[in-house]
């Protein structure tokens, strides 16, 4: 089956991103296709490479980036939600006149249409949030 995944909360604060990660990994292991993981609301905060979690805890951002690399996942961060919360890639930083960017490897910034497209294309859209 073809899955779309939506992540609506930031890392560490809510379990949503953890559950979405374990679900995505299990779906891939079962041979399903992950069409896209879409990060919305505070979910965009999963995409900052500036996090430094305690050494004895999981690194949520790195875990997503590694899963994306291994399975060629499409991790999409909503641009409107990202602007409100300070998640930038190089292009956005330039466009907004900001002096740096913080997006992590494997994530890309795009529009809400990517979420609707996932809804249309996928057999199941599974939402994880608060």
């Amino acid at each position: 089956m073809k899955f779309g995944i939506m992540v609506n909360e930031g890392p560490y604060t809510h379990e949503a991103s953890d559950t979405a990660y374990h679900f995505t990994k299990a779906a891939l292991e079962a041979g399903h296709e992950i069409f896209r993981v879409f990060f919305y609301h505070d979910g965009v905060n999963n995409a900052t490479r500036y996090t430094v979690p305690p050494q004895d805890d999981r690194n949520i951002q790195v875990r997503w980036s590694e899963l994306a690399e291994k399975h060629n996942l499409d991790l999409v961060v909503c641009i409107a939600a990202a602007q409100r919360r300070g998640i930038l890639d190089e292009n956005e930083a330039k466009r907004q006149g900001k002096d740096g960017d913080n997006i992590a490897p494997g994530f890309r910034i795009s529009g809400l249409g990517q979420l609707i497209e996932a809804g249309i294309q996928c057999d199941r859209l599974v939402v994880f949030g608060d």
């Binding site: 609506n8 990994k25 299990a26 199941r124 599974v126």
Partner: protein, 102 residues
């Protein structure tokens, strides 16, 4: 169609499970995840409501979340099935659709 509903909040803190149960049709299923798993345990103030709904709807609970909260499977209401993340994925494929009660 038969829907898989997910509930991730404690029924003691929020109205999420109540609202889900009010809208879950016979033949659908409710999967309790994250803080929602506490609704699957015996002897609570919501046990009666859950048991009543079990006549119509299948209940599942995510094992890893239960274990994290120190709730052993011996504490579960009879008839609620424990699944892991693989089982969660399977449920989403077995039912026609998924609705997350956020």
């Amino acid at each position: 169609m038969a829907m898989l509903h997910t509930v991730n909040k404690s029924p003691f803190e929020r109205n999420t499970l109540d609202s889900c149960m009010r809208h879950a049709l016979p033949g659908s299923a409710i999967l309790l995840i994250e803080d929602g798993v506490v609704a699957a345990t015996k002897g609570t103030a919501v046990e009666g409501k859950v048991k009543e709904k079990m006549g119509d709807v299948s209940f599942f609970v995510l094992g890893p979340d239960l274990a994290a909260r120190g709730l052993g499977e011996d504490k579960l209401i009879d008839g609620i099935s424990v699944v892991d993340y693989n089982g969660f994925v399977e449920l989403t494929t077995k039912y026609d659709n998924v609705q997350s009660w956020l």
